[in-house]
C-alpha cells in the first residue's frame, strides 16, 4: 500500500492549526445548474478560503442523498451533464485552485465506467480523493488501495450508528481524512447534533490520528462554528445546493447566482474565525 501519498487534501487540512480555524468543505453538484456555473463557483469558493471542495457526480438513483441534492442531480442529468463532463470541469479548474478537490460519486457510476479507468481519469483531471458512499465493505480494502495507487485518497465515512470495531476497520483503509456523519439518515439540514458526535470525533482523532471532518446536516455558520470546536473541518452540502436552487427558482442570471452563493460560502468561512 502506498503510505506516502500527500496531496492538496493533506496540505489543506494541515493549514488548519496555523491559521487558527478549521476547514470549510463545501459541496457542489457538477453541472447544477450547468457546467460553466460549477467551474465559476469552484474558483469563487477557492478564493473565499474553501479548503477542500467536494464535487458531486450526478446519479439518477443516489440513495445516500436527501431530496435537495437528489433534485440537483436530476436537474444536472436532464441538462446534459455527463461523467466525462465532470472530469472536464475538474481539469479546467485544477490548475488555478489552491484547495483540494474530492469526487463524491456512487459506486454504480464507477463500476459502469470501469474502476481503473475511473480512478486514472479522476487523478488526471486533478482530483485528490474520492468519497464513495455506497462502496461495499467487502471490496473496500482492495478498492482503497487502487485509489491510493492512482494517487487518490480514499475517504471513508462513519455514521453515528457505526460500531467501534467497524469504525476501526473503516479508519484502517481510509486516508486523507475521515468523513464523520453528524446525523443518521441522508444528506440534508438538521437543527441540532447529538452530544455524542463530539465524543465520537474526539475518539476517532485520538485512535487513528487522521483528520476528521463532519458533514450531513451542517447548514449554517453557527453550526460550522459548533462543529469546528471538535472537528478538523465542516462539510456543507445541502445548504449550498439549496441556495443554488433558490437562485434558479428566482431565475437569477449566472452572475447573480454566483455572487449570492459565494456570499453564503463566505459567511460559512467567517463562522470559523
Amino acid at each position: 500500500m502506498k503510505t506516502s501519498l500527500k496531496n492538496r487534501i493533506d496540505q489543506s487540512l494541515m493549514r488548519a492549526p496555523a491559521s487558527g480555524s478549521c476547514a470549510v468543505l463545501p459541496f457542489l453538484t457538477a453541472g447544477y445548474p450547468n457546467a460553466n456555473t460549477t467551474t465559476t463557483l469552484i474558483r469563487a469558493f477557492d478564493g473565499e478560503g474553501a479548503r477542500i471542495i467536494e464535487l458531486g457526480f450526478p446519479f439518477s438513483d443516489s440513495i445516500a442523498d436527501g431530496p435537495v441534492i437528489q433534485n440537483s442531480f436530476h436537474h444536472a442529468i436532464a441538462g446534459g451533464q455527463t461523467i466525462a463532463g465532470v472530469f472536464d470541469i475538474a481539469s479546467q479548474v485544477c490548475k488555478d485552485i489552491q484547495c483540494g478537490l474530492v469526487a463524491m460519486v456512487s459506486y454504480s457510476i464507477i463500476e459502469r465506467f470501469g474502476k481503473e479507468s475511473f480512478l486514472q481519469r479522476a487523478a488526471e483531471s486533478g482530483f485528490d480523493g474520492v468519497i464513495v458512499p455506497d462502496a461495499p465493505s467487502d471490496l473496500a480494502v482492495v478498492f482503497s488501495e487502487q485509489c491510493r495507487n492512482a494517487d487518490l485518497h480514499f475517504i471513508g465515512l462513519i455514521a453515528p450508528s457505526t460500531s467501534a470495531p467497524r469504525s476501526k476497520e473503516i479508519a484502517s483503509y481510509t486516508s486523507g481524512f475521515i468523513y464523520q456523519m453528524a446525523v443518521s439518515g441522508t444528506t440534508g439540514e438538521r437543527k441540532d447534533f447529538g452530544e455524542s458526535i463530539a465524543e465520537q470525533v474526539r475518539q476517532l482523532k485520538q485512535t487513528h490520528g487522521l483528520p476528521v471532518c463532519v458533514g450531513f446536516g451542517v447548514s449554517s455558520p453557527s453550526q460550522v462554528r459548533e462543529v469546528c470546536e471538535f472537528a478538523d473541518g465542516a462539510i456543507v452540502g445541502s445548504a449550498i445546493v439549496r441556495h443554488i436552487a433558490a437562485c434558479i427558482d428566482k431565475q437569477l442570471p449566472q452572475e447573480s447566482l454566483v455572487t449570492e452563493v459565494t456570499s453564503f460560502m463566505r459567511s460559512l468561512v467567517h463562522g470559523t474565525s
Binding site: S60, D61, S108, E111, F113, P136, T162, G185
Partner: protein, 414 residues
Amino acid sequence: MNQKTINVDWMPTISSQWDPDEHGRFGEFGGQYIPETLMAAVTELDEAYAQVRQDSAFWHAWGEMLTQFVGRPSPLYFAKRLSEKLGGAQLFLKREDLNHTGAHKINNTIGQVLLAQRLGKKRVIAETGAGQHGVATATAAACCGMECVVYMGEEDVRRQKLNVFRMALLGAKVESVTDGQRTLKDAINSALRDWMSSSLHTHYIIGSVMGPHPYPLMVRDFQSIVGRETRAQMLDQTGKLPDHVVACVGGGSNAAGIFAPFLDDENVSLVGVEAAGEKLKPNRHAATLSVGRPGVLHGMHTYVLQNDDGQTLPVHSVSAGLDYPGVGPEHAHWMTCGRAQYVAIDDEEALQALTLLSTTEGIIPALETAHAIAHAIKLAPMLPKDQRIVVNISGRGDKDVAEVARLMGSNETL
C-alpha cells in the same frame, strides 16, 4: 384428490450450495452497496435473519398465519382445456392468485412483519409500484397491529387509485414520491432514505428478491413455500416432477420462490419471463436480464438497465409489476451459471395470453402473470404430450381489469 393433504415443511429446505457467501453474494452478484447510515440496520437484520432461519418456532408461527389467514396451500390446477387447445405438453397452474390479497406477495410480507416484531420494531415501511406489495404489507401490518407507511411514485398513485384507497382502508399511510421518474425505483429510493433515519424503530419490508443482502435471500426463502408446495403437489398428482417451471420476472420474487426448491433437480428446466414491452424498443421494455448488463442499483450488484454513464434508463411494460430497471441478484447468478434461462414477452403477447387463459380456463391472471402464460403458450405446442409445464399464476387480474379494458379499446371508464 384433496388439495389440503399435502405435507410440506414451513422451514426453507433449499440446499446451502445455493446460499449466498458471507458477503451476501450469489457468485458475483448481490452484496451490500449501501451508505454507512444503513449499515447498522442491515447488519442487525442480517444477524436476526440468520438466527430466525434456524428457528423452527418462527417458521411454525409463520406457517400458522399462512394456513389460517392467507389460505395456504394454494391449489395446483391442471389446465385441461388450455392443454388440449395447445396440443402439446400438459399445463399445470400454481394458483397464487387465490391467496388472500390476490398474489404471492403476502407470503413475504407476513414473514417480514413477524421478523420485525421479533426485532422489537413498531413500524414497517414498504415501496410499491402497482400497489400489490403495498397492499400485502398494509394487510400484514393491520393483522399484526403495526404502523405502516407505503412509498409510491406520484405517477403510480395516479394510475392505481384503487390500490391507494385499499391501503388507506387497511390503515396504512401512502406517501406519494415526486422524485425522478415518480415510479417504483424512486419509491425504493425514498423508502431507503426513510429507513436511514428511522431504523431504530422501523423495519423496511422490501417486496422482491432485491436490495442489499439479506433481502434477496430472505424474500426467496419466504417465497420458496410456493415451490415446495408445487413439488409435493406434482408428485402427489402425477407421480413425477414437472419438466418445466415458468414464472414472470420483474424483481423476481415469485420466480425465485417457485424455482428455488427445484434447483437441485437438474432435469427440471426453469424459465423466467421478463417484459419485452414494446418489442424491446430502447427505453420501452423492462427485459433487464435479456438485454441489460451487470451494474449496481439499489444496494446490489446485478443486471441493470443503465446508459454508458451509469444512469438508470427509463423502463416500460404494460404490467406495472414488471416495470423495474434491475432484477434480483440470484436470477443474475442462475442465468450466468446456466441453471435458469430467461426470455422476454411483449405487451401484445401478454394481453393475448390474458384473454386466452380467461376464456379457456375461467381464470383472469394479472398482467405480470400473463407474461409467464404467454411463454408457456409458445412452449407447450413444441413439446410431446407427456411433458409437464408448471406456470406460476403469481397474481389475479382484478387490479388490471380497467387497464386491460383501456388497451382493448373500450370507451367505458371502469
